[in-house]
Each structure stands twice: as structure tokens, then as C-alpha cells.
């Protein structure tokens, strides 16, 4: 069962990575991805992430379970924040554990690609008094075709 967490609170990726790795006895290969709010050349004041409570957890669990099955993962972790965050803050992380490195890498990339376009999160950037909803990128949708 993947470990899925949708939360407003900050988290420490390193601590999560160590805790995740500790329980994957015999996995051999652990891959993590951490997404951080970019400072955008000092322009960005805040990022706000809205989500769809209920559906978010469901969508993430479905994606992570598919990854676990497809790559015979020893484990998978997804943490995604919502609410207000500032440049340098962690937005989210995924971690995958597998017997072989190629599987751990592929599963982590699959999780990220699906999570980008299939989990109900919406980013809003705040600069000065302006707010802008981040537009979805065609390349993110296109990334799904490889799986």
C-alpha cells in the first residue's frame, strides 16, 4: 500500500526519505523527487495551491497503486501540500523503492507525470498584488503518452 499524504503542513524531505528507506528492507534502489517553489528571479512572493479534498487522495492512491503494481515496487510515497507557500518551500515529494534502479526511476517519473496532469491541484502565483493561475503545459499532457 502506498503512503499518500495531502497536507497543508510543511514537511522535511530528508526525514521522509530516511523513514521510507528504513522500511524497504531488501529493496536496493530508492529514488526520490522533491518539488520546491522556485523564486523565479526574486519575482515570486507566494504560491497558493488549491486542491479538491477527497478526490486528491483518491487520485494519488490510484496512481501510486498502479506504479507499485507495474514496477513491482517494494514501496511508494507521495506527499503533496496545498495552501500558501513561499519560494524555497517544499511543494511535494515522491519516493519509490525497488529491487533494481531502472524500476525505481521509471516508477518515480511515471508518478510525477501522472500527478502533474491527473491529480486535482491548481497552482496560483502571487507577485506584488497580482495573482496568476499557472497554465497547464501541453508537454505535461504529452508526457503521459509514453506510459
Amino acid at each position: 500500500m502506498p503512503d499518500i499524504r495531502v497536507q497543508e503542513a510543511v514537511f522535511a524531505p530528508g526525514k521522509e526519505l530516511d523513514a521510507f528507506t528504513d522500511v524497504q528492507s531488501g529493496a536496493g534502489a530508492v529514488v526520490s523527487f522533491t518539488g520546491v517553489v522556485r523564486d523565479d528571479g526574486g519575482n515570486l512572493d507566494e504560491m497558493m495551491i488549491e486542491h479538491y479534498p477527497g478526490m486528491t487522495e483518491k487520485a494519488l492512491a490510484k496512481i501510486a497503486e498502479e506504479a507499485e503494481t507495474r514496477w513491482s515496487l517494494a514501496g511508494a510515497l507521495v506527499i503533496h501540500r496545498y495552501g500558501l507557500m513561499r519560494p524555497g518551500d517544499q511543494i511535494m515529494m515522491v519516493a519509490t523503492a525497488a529491487r533494481h534502479r531502472v524500476h525505481a526511476f521509471e516508477a518515480a517519473e511515471f508518478l510525477m507525470d501522472y500527478l502533474k496532469s491527473r491529480a486535482p491541484f491548481w497552482k496560483q502565483e502571487r507577485r506584488g498584488g497580482d495573482t496568476t493561475w499557472v497554465a497547464a503545459k501541453d508537454e505535461d499532457e504529452d508526457a503521459l503518452t509514453r506510459w
Binding site: 488549491e50 491541484f121 497554465a135
Partner: protein, 83 residues
């Protein structure tokens, strides 16, 4: 039937609130969109281009041709930008 209709991100902002509780006979999502467009100008504007929108039925991604039988919660939103 009674439906909870939810809006997120800029769609929520354009409509001005996050949720409607609607009594409707719409058979498909497209029928429901048509009905919403007829409600008020801001709905018509918000739903002008459904190619820019996504829909979830009872918290599963779906499409605008889908039937509403047995559905209790419909959510409309822009393409997702998580990660």
C-alpha cells in the same frame, strides 16, 4: 435528481462561489453544462469554452459525454497543475 456541483481555481473565481446544489433532469455532463450556461451571464462566460475545462464525476475524472445516472457530485475545473 439533486447534484452537488463544484468549481475550482479560476472557474470558481469566475462563478463567484465554490459549490451549487442543483435540481436537474440533465442526462449528460454536456446537458448539465448547457443548463448552467442558461443560469446567469457569469456561468455562460465561465463555461464558454469547455475544451479549457475538465470534469470529475463522484471524484473520478470523466468527460463531457458521460451520463449522470447515479452521480451525486460533479466537479468542473481547469487542467490540473500539481507536482
Amino acid at each position: 435528481m439533486k447534484l452537488d456541483v463544484l468549481y475550482f481555481a479560476w472557474l470558481r473565481e469566475r462563478i463567484g462561489h465554490p459549490k451549487d446544489r442543483i435540481e436537474t433532469d440533465a442526462e449528460t455532463v454536456a446537458d448539465l453544462v448547457e443548463e448552467l450556461r442558461g443560469r446567469e451571464e457569469r456561468y455562460a462566460v465561465a463555461f464558454a469554452d469547455i475544451s479549457a475545462l475538465r470534469v470529475a464525476l463522484d471524484q473520478d475524472l470523466s468527460d463531457f459525454d458521460a451520463r449522470l445516472d447515479g452521480v451525486r457530485e460533479v466537479a468542473f475545473f481547469p487542467p490540473m497543475t500539481g507536482g
